[in-house]
Amino acid sequence: MENELIKPQGLVKNANRRQFLRVGTMTVAGAGLLLIGCNDDKDIMPEGMVSLGSGDTGILNYAYALEQLEAAFYAEVLRGSYFTNASAEEKTIMGDLEKHERAHREFFKAALGTSAIGPLEFNFTAIDFNSRTSVLGAAKTFEDLGVAAYNGAGQHLESADLLLIAGKIVSVEARHAAAIRDLINPGTADFAGNDIIDANGLERTLNFTQVLTAASAFVRTKIDFSKLPS
């Protein structure tokens, strides 16, 4: 069932999918490997609520939701006065992070095709985008959360190709997290602190519920993740 969702032959039979492939030819050449079949979950959702779906599609939507959150956050950072007045180094870092998260978000959207959840609405009122402390604190939260989320989700992916792609992204999130932590506490061991790495040298993993609960403080849209693997 879950595997079926990512079989290319399943996509060919699907009219919407075929249309997507045609429309997307310019940018999504040969993406058949990753594109994922439609499901009808969205049709039965209460208004304003999104369902991530099940199987690998659901996990990709989960990643897409987190990347939407991060991308929206950094876009907001670039509009605030913290960024305007930031050091050259911090401007470079924030600018890079905005680009990376936007790239991740757009990639997941393209990979999911018609199975992608819509754009989420966010609530960043708790963050003061004019304050370095507030922005870096939030960035740390989001980056550490992203790493723990990917590390926790990896075992649920059926597709080895998707696992590799998740692996390619999670290490970049970890690079971000370490840099942000070093901006907050420069030159210390906090870049890989004991709060997130245990005595075995293993980084924290978080499950779907833990991650989405933590993220929910910043997300207005209700997310149904009940069909994700467990």
Partner: protein
């Protein structure tokens, strides 16, 4: 208590793809794997049997790299090559690498009932080409090279340990720690004016690292993900897109890199 991997039944359960080893994520357990109670094993449905030998092989490959990293930092801390203000950073990294060595030895030996590889003899001068324990910039350069290699090496093995949720999750949890190390060392080198690299890898750039490190970054310029050209998709510059995805290396590529530092 460890699962009894001499028992075919327990072994099947241990390796099952959809098993219930979620308590592996229990943060702070001293030896997480060893702490999985047998009662949990009995609640796991039989599914697939993975290849124990193959898992052991992958973990021994990882253990070899962890030995290299641990020994490198331990020798550097002993030699006093590291600027005093930066010792706290490399003590932390050294501690993680030692923890990884011990963890992998535990999993290979006591859980999978295999034989952990012995620590190889290393030559961190690569036959006299580098002096990392007397020249701090050289130490930092090789540290970056080892950490970025480690990230790529673990990534390249993820699919090979996929049959065991426990081992996969452990490998991912080490992988992100190596990436944190890599980011820190890269930025430290730039802060000291030794390079202009960022915490993330831009294209396949080796920056000011020695030419021998070229294979460590080969392929990092990739902008195609899952058949999607992300530059065309986003109109972002290729450098930024290459930074946003780290690329894997296979075991042979990694061993080729590591072999420069093995004593013959």
């Amino acid at each position: 208590m460890c699962p009894d991997t001499n028992s075919a039944e327990d072994k099947d359960r241990f390796y099952s793809r959809r098993d219930a080893f979620r308590q592996f994520g229990d943060f702070g357990k001293k030896i997480a794997l060893a702490a999985v109670p047998l009662s949990v094993l009995s609640s796991i449905p039989h599914i697939a049997k993975a290849d124990t030998a193959s898992l052991i092989g992958v973990l021994n490959f990882a253990l070899t790299l962890e030995h290299l990293e641990y020994r490198y930092y331990e020798m550097a801390l002993t030699s006093n090559v590291i600027a005093s203000a930066d010792r706290v950073i490399f003590q932390k990294i050294r501690d993680h690498e030692l923890a990884h060595v011990k963890f992998l030895q535990e999993v290979i030996g006591n859980v999978l009932k295999g034989t952990p590889v012995a620590e190889p003899k290393f030559d961190f001068t690569a036959k006299g080409n580098f002096q990392p324990f007397s020249d701090y910039p050289t130490f930092l350069a090789l540290a970056q090279a080892f950490e970025d290699t480690g990230v790529r090496a673990y990534k390249g093995q993820a699919a090979n340990v996929k049959e065991s949720d426990v081992v996969l999750t452990a490998a991912l949890s080490i992988h992100s720690v190596e990436a944190r190390h890599a980011s820190m060392v890269r930025r430290l080198r730039t802060k000291k004016g030794l390079d202009t690299v960022k915490g993330w890898i831009t294209n396949a750039s080796i920056g000011t690292l020695p030419a021998a490190t070229t294979p460590i970054y080969a392929g990092e310029e990739n902008i195609m993900q899952g058949g999607v050209n992300v530059v065309n998709l986003t109109s972002l510059d290729a450098g930024a897109v290459s930074e946003a995805w780290d690329e894997p290396l296979n075991a042979n590529q990694v061993l080729g890199i590591a072999s420069l530092f093995l004593a013959s």
